[in-house]
Symmetry: C2
Subunit: 213 residues, 2 copies
């Protein structure tokens, strides 16, 4: 359907999954190339020439322009395919969704990335994504777990007052937070059983076709 | 000019400065309340009732809605006051600006915050903003300095190929990166003298009226 674009993905990684869900919710299909993050393909010459940031997701446009992260890919797709809106309709709704997406990114996804990248043996020297190597900081892994638990509290409280994080409609903020919950299972972190709003929201999102792509 | 809004600011802090510059570049004036971060006013009952995230910037709208971060404030203002555009015009430009704003936030501003909040004595137990206390992690301060230096390299390289980070026009990405450079001076980090594109860009931005508000 978008045969003139190329999506650079890694089927097992959380970050590109955000873009993959976004694309599916827009009803789009994009020719996809898998980048093998486990073997370090993202750091090799070939992919570095595509995205010098050495990260997925990336999206190549028909004119050769490459968008190198979730922020740019989502914004571009929202512009060229406005429906269904995943970033809001009214100014206040757009703002609220941007805020909850930022909360989910910083307090949720970043905290999860810190947990995983600073503890797994296979991530030694790769505590941050990108072309530079940074040593693991074990204290950061520990702090990350605490932050994720705090994020679950925050999200559960919000989902007690609104059906979706951004308000009345499913949005990019839900996509980001959904990926946090799924990612957290890697290190056996999950919402507390008392957080029923968060748990029900997660179940509903997991049942959407976009969660399967 | 926007007398029915209230802007919650802290004149000495980097994060609200981003919103302050954005507001000035839009040609807006908003009644402003200063929150004294040094005395911990953001954690007190009064401000917590305004923004439970206990952070500035925040913007109260005429109906009482509070936007609690830069992401939401910028999006809202861009919607209600589209000119001058600070978040792009075409889909690709909007995407590119979103990407560079995210790079400046994560690789620049967050790295600077990690440097400062994990090293200053006055920040003990306050390694992260928000209602929860987190201990300082000294290794994170050290890593932050290395990351900021890397961000300066990245920004300089980009500014050798385009006049602004997002491309041909001044944008929110420049605002964020400008605040990084200014913030870095707190801990005596500055662009290397060989990074002339970055240095010239910074001088030009510092000369804009918005840098003085």
């Amino acid at each position: 359907m978008m045969d003139d674009h190329i999506f650079y993905d890694c089927a097992t990684a959380p970050s590109p999954r955000r873009a993959r869900i976004f694309i599916a919710e827009k009803g789009l299909e994009v020719p996809t190339i898998q980048i093998d993050l486990r073997s370090g393909e993202q750091l090799g010459e070939a992919f570095r020439a595509v995205n010098p940031r050495c990260t997925v997701p990336a999206l190549k446009l028909p004119d050769g322009t490459v968008l190198g992260d979730n922020a740019s890919i989502a914004r571009y797709l929202e512009e060229i395919r406005p429906k269904p809106a995943l970033m809001g309709i009214t100014p206040v709704e757009k703002a609220r969704i941007a805020e909850w997406n930022a909360i989910a990114e910083f307090d949720g996804l970043l905290a999860m990335a810190e947990t995983v990248r600073n503890s797994l043996k296979g991530m030694k020297g790769r505590a941050l994504t990108g072309p530079k190597n940074y040593d693991q900081i074990p204290a950061l892994a520990e702090r990350g777990r605490a932050r994720v638990a705090h994020f679950f509290e925050t999200a559960d409280r919000r989902l007690n007052e609104a059906p979706y994080l951004g308000g009345d409609h499913y949005s990019i903020a839900d996509i980001t937070a959904f990926v946090v919950v799924e990612f957290a299972a890697w290190v056996k972190l999950s919402p507390d059983e008392s957080q029923s709003a968060l748990i029900e929201w997660h179940q509903a999102l997991a049942a959407r076709p976009s969660a399967k792509v």
